[in-house]
């Protein structure tokens, strides 16, 4: 009993992978030139889910998967053509299947409303053949389920339609000279059913007479299949004249025992001997294992061969499932290791050892090793965004169904790897944005046609690594943002004053204000009182930013920029008002030691820096953090040029830059809370804590920007808290 839940867990984990393969396959099927293997992959996924579900008595899931699979099977056997309508039904069925799996996993009732509709539509394709589907399905399970699902095959072997085919395969010298490989042939045969391969090495001569160019091994193959003999001949078509093949068909016979002299060889070992190029000595090691291996049962060879063939086909990399907690513990410990390493370096420097001491070299090696370990550990957490994007394609479908718009989803760069936490925490904001894109972004089909666009709207999701950050874009080819209406709404809601003269970017950014919703009527899809401000907060919590670009008539694109990892970053160690702080290098364009003549005062407190003819506002970091800058130290300090998400240049004034190093990011929020202008903290080599600055927020603090900036609100809250 105690083992039960864990097997169940494994099943659901597998289901996740299978559903992923299913979605992927269905997406590939949209391509009119999709290969037969794609259809097979989808079928296998559904079939395997059904098989597992049956074992756990999940009847509803089995029933649905069975219907789905049966329709799928018609496509596979070319009795049903895939048209866009059917493909949509398949995709919806995939969604329902995912729902059912989820419901079964969480032990709750699935949403049956849509499921019934989808099921009914699937049934339509089945028509009268419904009754015989059971048999038809089992038969199908033979040829493709074979290599995948061994339990299925043993069931099927008792089916009357199955037959045993013995093949005697005697390669000629020319077979190898023409570069043919028996293993590949056997793999192809293994596709057709359960294959048992054995090698008759009785003809292999003694070592001193051995001619490495001459094939000596005779192969006995036993195939259990329901395919006809002709299919087998197709396999051997290309080697017909290069070997002697004898094919014998036995109906309804159990597997004949291999002749006693015949030796059972696992397929992977096979290429060793008859390879024309192989060294003659290869025959020696071959002979021994052969003699020992003779008693082993042929079925073991078959089972070893079958999954191997299957793996080659689908080609996923082998993976290891690890509890996330363990990985996180490891990451934390490695973070400590990095800090500890920095401390040791610092302590040793304090010892003031003679230069060129061996210790320095070792220390450098230690540092590199620690880095390697850290990067390796971080890579464990990195995962492709593909599953996330796949979830979004479902959202697009659901959203377009709900709004009566037609939309297709295009993804780019879905193999881009991002930290797992980021992926998890992006799911909700992305869902929201994708829904918005369909609901508010895309026009109705009529309007699209009127505007001379394709009736079907496109939602484009892309992910890419660029300069130490992850860029995720969600774009639509809709009408673009309706800026006058956004402004009007904002004014009506009292978010901006009617006199305000806002630039286009500023108007676009009004969307991120809390309590803003453009939809004049609340649809049941978006507009549940949750606005883009939630999206913005979620992204900011991950250390990222969101920005909008929109062209009227062409569409809108939201760009999310996220740090590559949540745990380490490269930073400048700087000093601000005698405090040591860190600023992310990624945000710095250049550093400037200013000449007095490049500095100009403007207005009451404003100061600008002239850089190549441009005037850039100076942001005094100490002042904006509420610290007193040491006026007599280092004159004008050092200026760091940063670019905000609005592509505005700003110069941050700090006292000095001391060092450049990789720092481990420690959250301040977990134990304290958010501090304006500070994104996190880190621990320096001496064990002291340094704050990590957020240049973007510092610039905003400086400009004392529009009141709705959440940062300002936070600050007020802080001060408020201080007074209560």
């Amino acid at each position: 009993m105690s083992g039960q839940p864990s097997i169940r867990d494994t099943f659901f984990e597998e289901c996740e992978e299978l559903l992923e393969a299913l979605v992927e396959g269905l997406a590939d099927m949209e391509d009119p030139d999709h290969s037969k293997e794609t259809v097979n992959a989808v079928f296998r996924a559904v079939h395997s889910i059904k098989g597992g579900a049956g074992a756990f008595g999940l009847d509803e899931l089995v029933h649905f998967a069975h219907t789905f699979e049966t329709v799928m099977d018609k496509v596979r056997s070319d009795t049903l053509d895939v048209d866009p309508e059917l493909l949509r039904l398949f995709q919806r069925s995939g969604d329902q299947l995912a729902d059912l799996v989820e419901a079964a996993r969480d032990d709750r009732d699935p949403n049956r409303d849509i499921q019934v509709v989808v099921l009914a539509e699937l049934q339509k394709y089945l028509g009268d053949e419904d009754e015989e589907e059971e048999i038809e399905f089992d038969a199908m399970g033979l040829d493709f389920g074979g290599p995948l699902d061994l339990t299925d095959i043993s069931d099927d072997s008792s089916e009357p339609s199955s037959q045993m085919i013995s093949i005697r395969f005697v390669p000629k010298r020319s077979l190898f000279e023409n570069g043919h490989e028996p293993l590949l042939l056997f793999d192809a045969i293994a596709e057709l059913g359960t294959l048992t391969v054995s090698a008759d090495i009785s003809a292999v001569p003694d070592f001193d007479e051995f001619d490495s160019d001459e094939p000596h091994i005779v192969w006995e193959l036993t195939l259990e299949t329901d395919e006809s003999e002709t299919v087998l001949h197709e396999v051997f078509e290309f080697v017909d004249s290069l070997c002697d093949i004898t094919i014998t068909v036995h109906r309804n016979e159990s597997a004949s025992e291999p002749p006693p002299a015949v030796v059972d060889l696992g397929l992977p070992e096979e290429p060793v001997a008859p390879e024309p190029s192989s060294d003659p000595t290869a025959a020696e090691p071959l002979a021994k294992p052969v003699a020992v291996a003779s008693p082993s049962s042929p079925s073991s060879a078959a089972s070893a061969a079958a999954p191997a063939a299957d793996r080659d086909h689908r080609g996923p990399k082998p993976t290891l499932r690890v509890d996330l907690d363990r990985v996180d513990r490891l990451i934390n410990t490695v973070g400590e290791l990095i800090i500890n390493q920095a401390m040791i370096v610092q302590r040793i420097e304090e010892l003031d050892l003679p230069s060129g001491a061996n210790l320095t070299n070792e220390l450098e090696a230690y540092k590199l090793l620690a880095r390697d370990i850290q990067e390796g550990v971080m890579a464990i957490r990195a995962q492709p965004v593909k599953p996330l994007f796949q979830r979004m394609s479902r959202i697009v479908r659901e959203a377009s169904d709900a709004t009566g718009k037609s939309a297709r989803m295009v993804t780019v760069g879905d193999s881009t790897e991002v930290d797992k936490t980021v992926i998890e925490r992006l799911a909700d904001p992305l869902t929201h944005m994708v829904r918005n894109a369909v609901d508010h972004g895309l026009e109705t089909p009529e309007k699209r046609i009127a505007a001379g666009k394709d009736e079907v709207g496109t939602i484009r999701m892309s992910a890419a690594h660029r300069s130490g950050s992850v860029f995720i874009e969600i774009g639509d080819d809709g009408a673009g943002l309706n800026r006058p209406r956004i402004l009007e709404t904002a004014i009506n809601k009292g978010l901006v004053s009617p006199e305000a003269d806002l630039t286009e970017t500023e108007i676009d950014n009004l969307l991120f204000l809390p309590g803003f919703s453009t939809a004049s009527e609340v649809s049941n899809l978006s507009g549940r009182g949750v606005g883009m401000d939630v999206v913005k907060n979620a992204v900011q919590a991950l250390g990222g930013r969101v920005s909008i670009t929109s062209t009227p008539g062409k569409g809108t694109t939201f760009t999310i920029v996220l740090p590559l990892t949540l745990a380490v970053m490269d930073g400048f160690v700087i000093s601000v008002a005698q405090e040591t702080m860190v600023i992310p290098i990624a945000s710095i364009l250049e550093t400037v030691t200013p000449n007095a003549r490049d500095l100009h005062r403007i207005g009451l407190n404003g100061e600008v820096l002239r850089v190549r003819g441009r005037y850039v506002p100076i942001v005094d970091v100490a002042h904006n953090l509420g610290l007193e800058r040491n006026s007599d130290s280092n004159g004008n300090g050092v200026l760091l040029l940063v670019e905000t998400e609005m592509q505005e240049l700003n110069a941050l004034r700090v006292e000095a830059i001391h060092d450049q190093r990789q720092v481990v990011i420690k959250s301040l929020e977990s134990n304290y809370g958010r501090i304006p202008g500070v994104s996190a903290a880190t621990i320096l080599g001496d064990g002291k804590i340094a704050l990590i600055l957020d240049p973007e927020e510092l610039v905003k603090l400086n400009s004392g920007d529009v009141a709705p900036m959440p940062i300002i609100a936070n600050q007020e809250e802080l001060h408020h808290a201080a007074h209560t």
Binding site: E579, K666, S667, G673, G677, K688, I689, N714, Q715, L718
Partner: protein
Amino acid sequence: MQPTPEASEGKTFKFVAFSAGSQSYCLEITQIREIRRWAAVTALPHTPSDVLGVMNLRGAVIPIFDLAARFGLGKTPDNERNVVIVAAAGGNTIGLLVESVSEILSVNTDTIQQTPDIKSEATRNSIQGVIAIDEEMIRVVNLDAVLGADAGIAA
């Protein structure tokens, strides 16, 4: 959670008694992770004056509060004997700067009296009860209430 006089009848709990702003306070011992000597902290910008800054506790960044200032008793003066009580409250680990830690008390919950009905609501919230020992009144600190004002900021 801390024991309340009603909830656990006649049970004995251990409290750590300390002084802050020249007043006697105590915390239940299970809330306390460790007691450290005072060491320089990294100041945080834009924080109230009772938030001294953050310190490195074996790789974790924890905020340090001046308990006396938090209770409106003025800043704790610099002193060699000042200590930081590292305590855990609602998943957060924090440090409290106090003047000194005096002793560990074994207190029967029956002897904890309710906080006298004084005017200041803030005070009533942050003091969970009082214990009378000899001539002295020791205040039981409600850690959650003490943190409450700031914890809300973490959005």
